[in-house]
Subunit: 87 residues, 7 copies
Protein backbone atom coordinates (compact mmCIF):
# COMPACT_ATOMS: atom_id res chain seq x y z
CA UNK A 1 0.00 0.00 0.00
CA UNK A 2 1.31 3.51 -0.96
CA UNK A 3 2.67 5.29 2.14
CA UNK A 4 0.51 7.98 3.77
CA UNK A 5 1.51 11.62 3.15
CA UNK A 6 0.36 14.40 5.49
CA UNK A 7 -0.61 17.76 3.91
CA UNK A 8 2.20 19.84 5.49
CA UNK A 9 4.68 17.05 4.60
CA UNK A 10 3.61 17.29 0.97
CA UNK A 11 4.07 21.08 0.97
CA UNK A 12 7.45 20.76 2.70
CA UNK A 13 8.65 18.43 -0.08
CA UNK A 14 7.69 21.12 -2.63
CA UNK A 15 10.18 23.68 -1.28
CA UNK A 16 12.48 24.67 -4.16
CA UNK A 17 10.16 23.19 -6.80
CA UNK A 18 7.32 24.45 -8.98
CA UNK A 19 3.73 24.34 -7.75
CA UNK A 20 0.36 25.42 -9.14
CA UNK A 21 -1.87 27.22 -6.62
CA UNK A 22 -5.63 27.87 -7.11
CA UNK A 23 -7.27 30.44 -4.81
CA UNK A 24 -10.86 30.43 -3.50
CA UNK A 25 -11.35 33.53 -5.71
CA UNK A 26 -10.37 31.36 -8.75
CA UNK A 27 -7.09 33.29 -9.30
CA UNK A 28 -4.38 30.80 -10.34
CA UNK A 29 -0.58 30.97 -9.98
CA UNK A 30 2.48 28.87 -10.68
CA UNK A 31 5.82 29.56 -9.04
CA UNK A 32 8.70 28.06 -7.08
CA UNK A 33 7.86 27.52 -3.42
CA UNK A 34 10.37 29.27 -1.12
CA UNK A 35 8.64 28.85 2.22
CA UNK A 36 5.33 28.54 4.13
CA UNK A 37 4.01 28.70 7.69
CA UNK A 38 1.44 26.83 9.78
CA UNK A 39 -1.41 28.83 8.23
CA UNK A 40 -0.13 27.68 4.79
CA UNK A 41 0.69 31.33 3.90
CA UNK A 42 3.16 30.77 1.02
CA UNK A 43 6.18 32.59 -0.44
CA UNK A 44 6.63 31.83 -4.14
CA UNK A 45 9.21 33.19 -6.59
CA UNK A 46 9.24 33.35 -10.43
CA UNK A 47 5.49 33.66 -10.20
CA UNK A 48 3.10 33.63 -13.15
CA UNK A 49 -0.56 34.56 -12.63
CA UNK A 50 -3.23 33.10 -14.98
CA UNK A 51 -6.55 34.86 -15.56
CA UNK A 52 -9.32 33.10 -17.45
CA UNK A 53 -10.85 35.73 -19.80
CA UNK A 54 -13.35 35.53 -22.66
CA UNK A 55 -10.37 35.45 -25.04
CA UNK A 56 -8.77 32.51 -23.24
CA UNK A 57 -6.11 32.33 -20.54
CA UNK A 58 -3.96 35.48 -20.02
CA UNK A 59 -0.70 35.04 -18.06
CA UNK A 60 1.26 37.72 -16.23
CA UNK A 61 4.69 37.62 -14.49
CA UNK A 62 4.78 38.79 -10.88
CA UNK A 63 8.19 37.81 -9.47
CA UNK A 64 8.25 37.07 -5.73
CA UNK A 65 4.77 36.83 -4.14
CA UNK A 66 3.19 36.04 -0.75
CA UNK A 67 -0.19 34.26 -0.87
CA UNK A 68 -2.66 34.35 2.08
CA UNK A 69 -3.16 30.69 3.13
CA UNK A 70 -6.80 31.25 4.16
CA UNK A 71 -7.56 32.10 0.52
CA UNK A 72 -5.95 28.99 -1.04
CA UNK A 73 -8.44 26.36 -2.30
CA UNK A 74 -5.94 23.80 -3.63
CA UNK A 75 -2.39 23.25 -4.79
CA UNK A 76 -0.77 20.90 -7.26
CA UNK A 77 2.90 20.00 -6.76
CA UNK A 78 4.80 20.31 -10.06
CA UNK A 79 1.67 21.72 -11.68
CA UNK A 80 2.23 23.73 -14.89
CA UNK A 81 -0.89 25.90 -14.59
CA UNK A 82 -4.18 25.91 -16.48
CA UNK A 83 -2.67 26.31 -19.97
CA UNK A 84 -0.72 23.07 -19.78
CA UNK A 85 -3.57 21.32 -17.97
CA UNK A 86 -5.97 21.97 -20.88
CA UNK A 87 -3.64 21.72 -23.89
CA UNK B 1 -28.18 -1.77 14.84
CA UNK B 2 -25.39 -0.69 12.40
CA UNK B 3 -22.26 0.37 14.34
CA UNK B 4 -21.58 4.10 14.70
CA UNK B 5 -18.81 5.58 12.49
CA UNK B 6 -17.09 8.86 13.41
CA UNK B 7 -16.22 11.27 10.57
CA UNK B 8 -12.40 11.07 10.95
CA UNK B 9 -12.70 7.28 11.27
CA UNK B 10 -14.53 7.14 7.96
CA UNK B 11 -11.84 9.26 6.27
CA UNK B 12 -9.07 7.16 7.82
CA UNK B 13 -10.61 4.04 6.29
CA UNK B 14 -10.47 5.71 2.89
CA UNK B 15 -6.67 5.99 2.85
CA UNK B 16 -5.40 4.19 -0.25
CA UNK B 17 -8.85 4.11 -1.88
CA UNK B 18 -10.79 6.31 -4.27
CA UNK B 19 -12.99 9.14 -2.97
CA UNK B 20 -15.16 11.80 -4.56
CA UNK B 21 -14.75 15.28 -3.00
CA UNK B 22 -17.17 18.21 -3.56
CA UNK B 23 -15.96 21.70 -2.57
CA UNK B 24 -18.05 24.60 -1.25
CA UNK B 25 -17.21 26.32 -4.57
CA UNK B 26 -18.90 23.37 -6.39
CA UNK B 27 -15.56 22.13 -7.86
CA UNK B 28 -15.57 18.30 -7.82
CA UNK B 29 -12.65 15.83 -7.73
CA UNK B 30 -12.04 12.11 -7.55
CA UNK B 31 -8.71 10.66 -6.52
CA UNK B 32 -6.93 8.21 -4.22
CA UNK B 33 -6.63 9.51 -0.66
CA UNK B 34 -2.98 9.51 0.51
CA UNK B 35 -3.33 11.43 3.76
CA UNK B 36 -5.22 14.09 5.73
CA UNK B 37 -4.83 16.16 8.90
CA UNK B 38 -7.08 17.37 11.73
CA UNK B 39 -8.39 20.23 9.57
CA UNK B 40 -9.35 17.61 6.95
CA UNK B 41 -6.81 19.13 4.50
CA UNK B 42 -6.39 16.21 2.07
CA UNK B 43 -3.63 14.82 -0.17
CA UNK B 44 -5.04 12.96 -3.17
CA UNK B 45 -3.20 11.30 -6.07
CA UNK B 46 -4.39 10.29 -9.59
CA UNK B 47 -6.77 13.22 -9.34
CA UNK B 48 -9.48 14.03 -11.90
CA UNK B 49 -11.30 17.37 -11.69
CA UNK B 50 -14.90 17.65 -13.03
CA UNK B 51 -16.33 20.97 -14.19
CA UNK B 52 -20.02 21.26 -15.00
CA UNK B 53 -20.24 23.36 -18.20
CA UNK B 54 -23.09 24.20 -20.60
CA UNK B 55 -21.85 21.36 -22.80
CA UNK B 56 -21.96 18.84 -19.95
CA UNK B 57 -19.27 17.61 -17.58
CA UNK B 58 -15.62 18.27 -18.59
CA UNK B 59 -12.94 16.23 -16.77
CA UNK B 60 -9.27 17.11 -16.39
CA UNK B 61 -6.31 15.11 -14.92
CA UNK B 62 -4.29 16.82 -12.20
CA UNK B 63 -2.02 14.17 -10.66
CA UNK B 64 -1.18 14.73 -6.97
CA UNK B 65 -3.25 17.50 -5.30
CA UNK B 66 -3.69 19.07 -1.86
CA UNK B 67 -7.23 20.27 -1.03
CA UNK B 68 -7.91 22.91 1.68
CA UNK B 69 -10.18 21.22 4.24
CA UNK B 70 -12.06 24.45 5.09
CA UNK B 71 -13.31 24.50 1.47
CA UNK B 72 -14.64 20.90 1.40
CA UNK B 73 -18.47 20.61 1.53
CA UNK B 74 -18.76 16.82 1.37
CA UNK B 75 -16.98 13.60 0.43
CA UNK B 76 -18.14 10.24 -0.82
CA UNK B 77 -15.94 7.19 -0.13
CA UNK B 78 -15.52 5.12 -3.30
CA UNK B 79 -17.41 7.78 -5.26
CA UNK B 80 -16.86 7.75 -9.03
CA UNK B 81 -17.60 11.45 -9.61
CA UNK B 82 -20.55 13.25 -11.18
CA UNK B 83 -20.42 11.44 -14.54
CA UNK B 84 -21.01 8.01 -13.01
CA UNK B 85 -23.51 9.43 -10.52
CA UNK B 86 -25.75 10.72 -13.34
CA UNK B 87 -25.24 8.03 -16.03
CA UNK C 1 -44.14 21.26 30.10
CA UNK C 2 -42.33 19.28 27.32
CA UNK C 3 -38.82 18.32 28.47
CA UNK C 4 -35.88 20.34 27.12
CA UNK C 5 -33.75 18.70 24.37
CA UNK C 6 -30.19 19.87 23.70
CA UNK C 7 -29.04 20.00 20.05
CA UNK C 8 -26.34 17.27 20.31
CA UNK C 9 -28.81 15.11 22.29
CA UNK C 10 -31.31 15.39 19.45
CA UNK C 11 -28.65 14.37 16.89
CA UNK C 12 -27.49 11.48 19.10
CA UNK C 13 -31.05 10.13 19.16
CA UNK C 14 -31.04 10.15 15.35
CA UNK C 15 -28.19 7.62 15.04
CA UNK C 16 -29.46 4.69 12.99
CA UNK C 17 -32.49 6.61 11.71
CA UNK C 18 -33.31 8.72 8.68
CA UNK C 19 -32.66 12.47 8.70
CA UNK C 20 -33.06 15.29 6.18
CA UNK C 21 -30.08 17.69 6.04
CA UNK C 22 -30.14 21.14 4.35
CA UNK C 23 -26.77 22.82 3.65
CA UNK C 24 -26.00 26.55 3.65
CA UNK C 25 -25.45 26.13 -0.12
CA UNK C 26 -29.09 24.89 -0.38
CA UNK C 27 -28.00 21.33 -1.30
CA UNK C 28 -30.39 18.88 0.43
CA UNK C 29 -29.85 15.21 1.47
CA UNK C 30 -31.69 12.43 3.25
CA UNK C 31 -29.89 9.43 4.67
CA UNK C 32 -29.39 7.24 7.74
CA UNK C 33 -27.15 8.89 10.34
CA UNK C 34 -24.18 6.62 11.23
CA UNK C 35 -22.13 9.05 13.34
CA UNK C 36 -21.14 12.66 14.03
CA UNK C 37 -18.50 14.62 15.94
CA UNK C 38 -18.38 17.80 18.04
CA UNK C 39 -18.25 19.97 14.90
CA UNK C 40 -21.46 18.20 13.73
CA UNK C 41 -19.55 16.70 10.77
CA UNK C 42 -21.88 13.83 9.84
CA UNK C 43 -21.56 10.33 8.34
CA UNK C 44 -24.72 9.27 6.51
CA UNK C 45 -25.44 6.08 4.56
CA UNK C 46 -28.09 5.27 1.89
CA UNK C 47 -27.88 8.91 0.92
CA UNK C 48 -30.15 10.63 -1.61
CA UNK C 49 -29.29 14.14 -2.83
CA UNK C 50 -32.10 16.48 -3.99
CA UNK C 51 -31.44 19.31 -6.43
CA UNK C 52 -34.12 21.89 -7.15
CA UNK C 53 -34.05 22.50 -10.93
CA UNK C 54 -36.36 24.37 -13.32
CA UNK C 55 -38.02 21.02 -14.10
CA UNK C 56 -38.67 20.29 -10.44
CA UNK C 57 -36.74 18.27 -7.87
CA UNK C 58 -34.10 15.82 -9.21
CA UNK C 59 -32.86 13.13 -6.80
CA UNK C 60 -29.60 11.20 -7.00
CA UNK C 61 -28.27 8.24 -4.93
CA UNK C 62 -24.84 8.68 -3.34
CA UNK C 63 -24.36 5.80 -0.87
CA UNK C 64 -22.17 6.61 2.17
CA UNK C 65 -21.35 10.32 2.52
CA UNK C 66 -19.52 12.65 4.94
CA UNK C 67 -20.98 16.17 5.31
CA UNK C 68 -18.91 19.12 6.61
CA UNK C 69 -20.70 20.36 9.74
CA UNK C 70 -19.73 24.01 9.16
CA UNK C 71 -21.79 23.90 5.95
CA UNK C 72 -25.00 22.50 7.51
CA UNK C 73 -27.83 25.06 7.93
CA UNK C 74 -30.47 22.77 9.46
CA UNK C 75 -31.54 19.16 9.95
CA UNK C 76 -34.88 17.45 10.36
CA UNK C 77 -34.98 14.12 12.21
CA UNK C 78 -37.06 11.58 10.27
CA UNK C 79 -37.41 14.07 7.43
CA UNK C 80 -38.28 12.60 4.04
CA UNK C 81 -36.70 15.35 1.92
CA UNK C 82 -38.19 18.16 -0.17
CA UNK C 83 -40.38 15.94 -2.37
CA UNK C 84 -42.43 14.57 0.53
CA UNK C 85 -42.45 17.97 2.26
CA UNK C 86 -44.17 19.60 -0.75
CA UNK C 87 -46.46 16.77 -1.97
CA UNK D 1 -35.66 51.82 34.30
CA UNK D 2 -36.62 48.46 32.64
CA UNK D 3 -34.38 45.67 33.93
CA UNK D 4 -31.53 44.49 31.71
CA UNK D 5 -32.00 41.14 29.88
CA UNK D 6 -29.00 39.17 28.60
CA UNK D 7 -29.37 37.39 25.23
CA UNK D 8 -29.09 33.80 26.57
CA UNK D 9 -31.48 34.73 29.38
CA UNK D 10 -34.04 35.88 26.82
CA UNK D 11 -33.69 32.60 24.88
CA UNK D 12 -33.92 30.55 28.08
CA UNK D 13 -37.25 32.23 28.87
CA UNK D 14 -38.54 31.15 25.45
CA UNK D 15 -38.22 27.42 26.16
CA UNK D 16 -41.65 25.85 25.69
CA UNK D 17 -43.00 28.88 23.81
CA UNK D 18 -43.28 29.96 20.18
CA UNK D 19 -40.48 31.92 18.53
CA UNK D 20 -39.86 33.31 15.04
CA UNK D 21 -36.31 32.70 13.73
CA UNK D 22 -34.79 34.49 10.70
CA UNK D 23 -31.59 32.98 9.18
CA UNK D 24 -28.71 34.83 7.51
CA UNK D 25 -29.89 33.10 4.29
CA UNK D 26 -33.30 34.81 4.76
CA UNK D 27 -35.06 31.50 5.46
CA UNK D 28 -37.70 32.07 8.20
CA UNK D 29 -39.25 29.64 10.73
CA UNK D 30 -41.67 29.64 13.61
CA UNK D 31 -41.81 26.84 16.14
CA UNK D 32 -41.78 25.95 19.82
CA UNK D 33 -38.30 26.16 21.35
CA UNK D 34 -37.32 22.85 23.02
CA UNK D 35 -33.65 23.55 23.75
CA UNK D 36 -30.45 25.36 22.74
CA UNK D 37 -26.72 25.31 23.49
CA UNK D 38 -23.95 27.87 23.96
CA UNK D 39 -23.56 28.27 20.19
CA UNK D 40 -27.33 29.07 20.05
CA UNK D 41 -27.93 25.91 17.98
CA UNK D 42 -31.67 25.47 18.51
CA UNK D 43 -34.14 22.56 18.68
CA UNK D 44 -37.66 23.60 17.64
CA UNK D 45 -40.81 21.49 17.33
CA UNK D 46 -44.09 22.09 15.41
CA UNK D 47 -41.99 24.02 12.91
CA UNK D 48 -43.37 26.01 9.99
CA UNK D 49 -40.97 27.32 7.32
CA UNK D 50 -41.89 30.51 5.36
CA UNK D 51 -40.50 31.17 1.88
CA UNK D 52 -41.02 34.53 0.23
CA UNK D 53 -41.88 33.81 -3.43
CA UNK D 54 -43.16 35.97 -6.29
CA UNK D 55 -46.67 34.76 -5.47
CA UNK D 56 -46.34 35.80 -1.81
CA UNK D 57 -45.38 33.83 1.30
CA UNK D 58 -45.51 30.01 1.05
CA UNK D 59 -45.49 28.08 4.35
CA UNK D 60 -44.46 24.46 4.88
CA UNK D 61 -44.67 22.19 7.99
CA UNK D 62 -41.45 20.50 9.06
CA UNK D 63 -42.06 18.98 12.53
CA UNK D 64 -39.00 18.84 14.81
CA UNK D 65 -35.97 20.74 13.46
CA UNK D 66 -32.41 21.63 14.53
CA UNK D 67 -31.11 25.04 13.37
CA UNK D 68 -27.37 25.85 13.15
CA UNK D 69 -26.77 28.81 15.48
CA UNK D 70 -24.02 30.31 13.31
CA UNK D 71 -26.63 30.78 10.57
CA UNK D 72 -29.24 32.59 12.72
CA UNK D 73 -29.50 36.37 12.08
CA UNK D 74 -32.26 37.21 14.57
CA UNK D 75 -35.09 35.79 16.65
CA UNK D 76 -38.36 37.17 17.90
CA UNK D 77 -39.88 35.63 21.05
CA UNK D 78 -43.59 34.92 20.51
CA UNK D 79 -43.24 35.95 16.87
CA UNK D 80 -45.95 34.66 14.52
CA UNK D 81 -43.83 34.71 11.35
CA UNK D 82 -43.84 36.99 8.30
CA UNK D 83 -47.51 36.49 7.40
CA UNK D 84 -48.82 37.89 10.69
CA UNK D 85 -46.12 40.56 10.74
CA UNK D 86 -47.34 42.02 7.42
CA UNK D 87 -51.12 41.46 7.63
CA UNK E 1 -9.29 66.65 24.24
CA UNK E 2 -12.62 64.69 24.25
CA UNK E 3 -12.34 61.67 26.56
CA UNK E 4 -11.82 58.24 24.97
CA UNK E 5 -14.86 55.90 24.83
CA UNK E 6 -14.41 52.14 24.43
CA UNK E 7 -16.93 50.29 22.20
CA UNK E 8 -18.51 48.16 24.97
CA UNK E 9 -18.65 51.25 27.19
CA UNK E 10 -20.63 53.08 24.50
CA UNK E 11 -23.08 50.17 24.18
CA UNK E 12 -23.44 49.92 27.96
CA UNK E 13 -24.46 53.60 28.09
CA UNK E 14 -27.19 52.86 25.56
CA UNK E 15 -29.05 50.41 27.83
CA UNK E 16 -32.61 51.72 28.25
CA UNK E 17 -32.30 54.09 25.28
CA UNK E 18 -33.07 53.97 21.59
CA UNK E 19 -30.45 52.76 19.10
CA UNK E 20 -30.32 52.23 15.33
CA UNK E 21 -28.68 48.95 14.27
CA UNK E 22 -27.52 48.15 10.69
CA UNK E 23 -26.74 44.50 9.87
CA UNK E 24 -24.13 43.16 7.42
CA UNK E 25 -27.13 41.97 5.35
CA UNK E 26 -28.30 45.64 5.16
CA UNK E 27 -31.38 44.96 7.34
CA UNK E 28 -31.92 47.97 9.66
CA UNK E 29 -33.67 48.22 13.06
CA UNK E 30 -34.38 50.75 15.76
CA UNK E 31 -35.37 49.77 19.25
CA UNK E 32 -34.64 50.21 22.95
CA UNK E 33 -31.56 48.30 24.09
CA UNK E 34 -32.36 45.94 26.98
CA UNK E 35 -29.11 44.01 27.19
CA UNK E 36 -26.07 42.60 25.34
CA UNK E 37 -23.22 40.13 25.87
CA UNK E 38 -19.52 39.95 25.04
CA UNK E 39 -20.29 38.87 21.47
CA UNK E 40 -22.47 42.02 21.14
CA UNK E 41 -25.58 39.81 20.71
CA UNK E 42 -28.31 42.34 21.55
CA UNK E 43 -31.81 42.27 23.09
CA UNK E 44 -33.96 45.14 21.86
CA UNK E 45 -37.60 45.94 22.63
CA UNK E 46 -40.19 48.13 20.80
CA UNK E 47 -38.36 47.17 17.61
CA UNK E 48 -39.09 48.59 14.18
CA UNK E 49 -37.49 46.98 11.10
CA UNK E 50 -36.82 49.13 7.97
CA UNK E 51 -36.60 47.59 4.50
CA UNK E 52 -35.45 49.67 1.55
CA UNK E 53 -37.74 48.77 -1.38
CA UNK E 54 -38.27 50.25 -4.84
CA UNK E 55 -41.20 52.21 -3.41
CA UNK E 56 -39.07 53.68 -0.60
CA UNK E 57 -38.56 52.62 3.00
CA UNK E 58 -41.14 50.16 4.50
CA UNK E 59 -41.20 49.83 8.29
CA UNK E 60 -42.57 46.93 10.33
CA UNK E 61 -43.07 46.49 14.11
CA UNK E 62 -41.49 43.42 15.69
CA UNK E 63 -41.69 43.87 19.49
CA UNK E 64 -38.85 42.24 21.48
CA UNK E 65 -36.00 40.94 19.28
CA UNK E 66 -32.59 39.27 19.71
CA UNK E 67 -29.93 40.22 17.10
CA UNK E 68 -26.87 38.03 16.38
CA UNK E 69 -23.81 40.17 17.15
CA UNK E 70 -21.68 38.56 14.42
CA UNK E 71 -24.16 39.95 11.86
CA UNK E 72 -24.12 43.57 13.10
CA UNK E 73 -22.15 46.01 10.88
CA UNK E 74 -22.73 49.22 12.86
CA UNK E 75 -24.89 50.90 15.46
CA UNK E 76 -25.89 54.47 16.13
CA UNK E 77 -26.85 55.45 19.69
CA UNK E 78 -30.10 57.48 19.69
CA UNK E 79 -30.45 56.86 15.96
CA UNK E 80 -33.95 57.29 14.53
CA UNK E 81 -33.53 54.93 11.58
CA UNK E 82 -33.13 55.53 7.84
CA UNK E 83 -36.35 57.56 7.41
CA UNK E 84 -35.27 60.32 9.78
CA UNK E 85 -31.70 60.14 8.53
CA UNK E 86 -32.78 61.01 4.96
CA UNK E 87 -35.69 63.42 5.58
CA UNK F 1 15.01 54.87 7.51
CA UNK F 2 11.45 55.93 8.55
CA UNK F 3 10.58 54.40 11.93
CA UNK F 4 8.29 51.34 11.98
CA UNK F 5 4.64 51.92 13.02
CA UNK F 6 2.49 49.06 14.30
CA UNK F 7 -1.19 49.01 13.23
CA UNK F 8 -2.69 49.51 16.72
CA UNK F 9 -0.11 52.27 17.36
CA UNK F 10 -1.29 54.07 14.24
CA UNK F 11 -4.94 53.83 15.34
CA UNK F 12 -4.06 54.99 18.85
CA UNK F 13 -2.45 58.12 17.39
CA UNK F 14 -5.70 58.87 15.56
CA UNK F 15 -7.75 59.25 18.77
CA UNK F 16 -9.31 62.73 18.72
CA UNK F 17 -8.63 63.21 15.00
CA UNK F 18 -10.50 62.62 11.78
CA UNK F 19 -10.24 59.28 9.97
CA UNK F 20 -11.79 57.79 6.82
CA UNK F 21 -13.02 54.18 7.24
CA UNK F 22 -13.93 51.83 4.35
CA UNK F 23 -15.92 48.70 5.19
CA UNK F 24 -15.75 45.29 3.47
CA UNK F 25 -19.30 46.07 2.27
CA UNK F 26 -17.93 49.21 0.53
CA UNK F 27 -19.78 51.57 2.93
CA UNK F 28 -17.50 54.55 3.69
CA UNK F 29 -17.41 56.90 6.70
CA UNK F 30 -15.42 59.80 8.02
CA UNK F 31 -15.53 60.87 11.63
CA UNK F 32 -13.47 61.68 14.74
CA UNK F 33 -12.09 58.58 16.45
CA UNK F 34 -13.13 58.46 20.13
CA UNK F 35 -11.98 54.95 21.01
CA UNK F 36 -11.35 51.37 19.85
CA UNK F 37 -10.70 47.90 21.29
CA UNK F 38 -8.48 44.92 20.46
CA UNK F 39 -10.91 43.75 17.77
CA UNK F 40 -10.60 47.25 16.19
CA UNK F 41 -14.30 47.90 16.90
CA UNK F 42 -14.37 51.72 16.66
CA UNK F 43 -16.35 54.59 18.22
CA UNK F 44 -16.50 57.62 15.95
CA UNK F 45 -18.31 60.92 16.45
CA UNK F 46 -19.41 63.66 13.96
CA UNK F 47 -19.80 60.83 11.45
CA UNK F 48 -20.61 61.29 7.77
CA UNK F 49 -21.53 58.26 5.65
CA UNK F 50 -20.80 58.29 1.87
CA UNK F 51 -22.80 56.14 -0.56
CA UNK F 52 -21.68 55.82 -4.16
CA UNK F 53 -24.86 56.03 -6.29
CA UNK F 54 -25.47 56.36 -10.03
CA UNK F 55 -25.84 60.13 -9.48
CA UNK F 56 -22.47 60.36 -7.71
CA UNK F 57 -21.55 60.35 -4.03
CA UNK F 58 -24.37 61.00 -1.51
CA UNK F 59 -23.33 61.93 2.04
CA UNK F 60 -25.41 61.61 5.21
CA UNK F 61 -24.73 62.74 8.82
CA UNK F 62 -24.97 60.08 11.53
CA UNK F 63 -23.55 61.60 14.74
CA UNK F 64 -21.89 59.09 17.11
CA UNK F 65 -21.44 55.60 15.60
CA UNK F 66 -19.92 52.24 16.57
CA UNK F 67 -18.36 50.24 13.69
CA UNK F 68 -17.83 46.44 13.89
CA UNK F 69 -14.06 45.89 13.48
CA UNK F 70 -14.49 42.56 11.65
CA UNK F 71 -16.25 44.49 8.85
CA UNK F 72 -13.55 47.15 8.37
CA UNK F 73 -11.40 46.72 5.20
CA UNK F 74 -9.14 49.76 5.59
CA UNK F 75 -8.74 53.12 7.28
CA UNK F 76 -6.98 56.33 6.34
CA UNK F 77 -5.85 58.65 9.16
CA UNK F 78 -6.88 62.25 8.40
CA UNK F 79 -8.78 61.03 5.35
CA UNK F 80 -11.46 63.39 4.02
CA UNK F 81 -13.64 60.72 2.40
CA UNK F 82 -14.24 59.75 -1.23
CA UNK F 83 -15.39 63.21 -2.38
CA UNK F 84 -12.10 64.92 -1.51
CA UNK F 85 -10.12 61.91 -2.71
CA UNK F 86 -11.57 62.18 -6.22
CA UNK F 87 -11.89 65.99 -6.62
CA UNK G 1 19.21 25.27 -3.31
CA UNK G 2 17.71 28.76 -2.70
CA UNK G 3 17.27 29.34 1.06
CA UNK G 4 13.77 29.01 2.55
CA UNK G 5 11.91 32.25 3.38
CA UNK G 6 9.05 32.29 5.87
CA UNK G 7 6.04 34.55 5.09
CA UNK G 8 6.49 36.94 8.06
CA UNK G 9 10.25 37.07 7.31
CA UNK G 10 9.48 38.18 3.75
CA UNK G 11 7.12 40.90 5.00
CA UNK G 12 9.66 42.04 7.61
CA UNK G 13 12.24 42.51 4.85
CA UNK G 14 9.81 44.77 3.01
CA UNK G 15 9.68 47.39 5.81
CA UNK G 16 10.72 50.71 4.29
CA UNK G 17 10.24 49.48 0.71
CA UNK G 18 7.44 49.51 -1.84
CA UNK G 19 4.94 46.64 -1.99
CA UNK G 20 1.87 45.88 -4.08
CA UNK G 21 -1.11 44.53 -2.07
CA UNK G 22 -4.21 42.83 -3.59
CA UNK G 23 -7.27 42.45 -1.36
CA UNK G 24 -9.85 39.63 -1.40
CA UNK G 25 -12.30 42.31 -2.66
CA UNK G 26 -9.95 42.87 -5.67
CA UNK G 27 -8.99 46.38 -4.49
CA UNK G 28 -5.26 46.91 -5.22
CA UNK G 29 -2.70 49.24 -3.56
CA UNK G 30 0.96 50.09 -3.75
CA UNK G 31 2.77 51.88 -0.97
CA UNK G 32 5.78 51.83 1.35
CA UNK G 33 5.41 49.35 4.20
CA UNK G 34 5.85 51.03 7.61
CA UNK G 35 4.78 48.21 9.90
CA UNK G 36 2.59 45.11 10.39
CA UNK G 37 1.40 42.81 13.19
CA UNK G 38 0.83 39.08 13.66
CA UNK G 39 -2.54 39.28 11.88
CA UNK G 40 -0.68 40.85 8.90
CA UNK G 41 -2.64 44.11 9.42
CA UNK G 42 -0.38 46.56 7.52
CA UNK G 43 0.53 50.26 7.76
CA UNK G 44 1.53 51.69 4.38
CA UNK G 45 2.47 55.24 3.45
CA UNK G 46 2.54 57.08 0.06
CA UNK G 47 -0.33 54.83 -0.93
CA UNK G 48 -1.87 54.64 -4.39
CA UNK G 49 -5.13 52.74 -4.91
CA UNK G 50 -5.88 51.17 -8.34
CA UNK G 51 -9.44 50.50 -9.47
CA UNK G 52 -10.08 48.49 -12.62
CA UNK G 53 -12.92 50.26 -14.47
CA UNK G 54 -14.42 49.85 -17.95
CA UNK G 55 -12.18 52.70 -19.09
CA UNK G 56 -9.04 50.98 -17.78
CA UNK G 57 -7.15 51.34 -14.51
CA UNK G 58 -7.87 54.48 -12.41
CA UNK G 59 -5.35 55.36 -9.69
CA UNK G 60 -5.93 57.51 -6.61
CA UNK G 61 -3.52 58.79 -3.91
CA UNK G 62 -4.43 58.01 -0.30
CA UNK G 63 -1.39 58.89 1.85
CA UNK G 64 -0.98 56.78 5.00
CA UNK G 65 -3.33 53.77 5.18
CA UNK G 66 -4.02 50.78 7.45
CA UNK G 67 -5.15 47.57 5.69
CA UNK G 68 -7.07 44.79 7.52
CA UNK G 69 -4.88 41.67 7.24
CA UNK G 70 -7.88 39.29 7.07
CA UNK G 71 -8.88 41.00 3.79
CA UNK G 72 -5.47 40.67 2.06
CA UNK G 73 -5.30 37.98 -0.66
CA UNK G 74 -1.68 38.46 -1.76
CA UNK G 75 1.26 40.83 -1.75
CA UNK G 76 4.17 41.41 -4.07
CA UNK G 77 7.37 42.91 -2.63
CA UNK G 78 8.62 45.75 -4.85
CA UNK G 79 5.49 45.43 -6.98
CA UNK G 80 4.61 48.48 -9.08
CA UNK G 81 0.86 47.82 -9.25
CA UNK G 82 -1.40 46.59 -12.05
CA UNK G 83 -0.47 49.34 -14.56
CA UNK G 84 3.20 48.38 -14.67
CA UNK G 85 2.35 44.68 -14.51
CA UNK G 86 0.30 44.86 -17.73
CA UNK G 87 2.27 47.46 -19.73
Amino acid sequence: MASTILPLELIDRCIGSKIWVIMKSDREFTGTLMGFDDFVNMVLTDVTEYQVTEDGIVSNSLGKTLLNGSNIAMLIPGGEGPEKAES
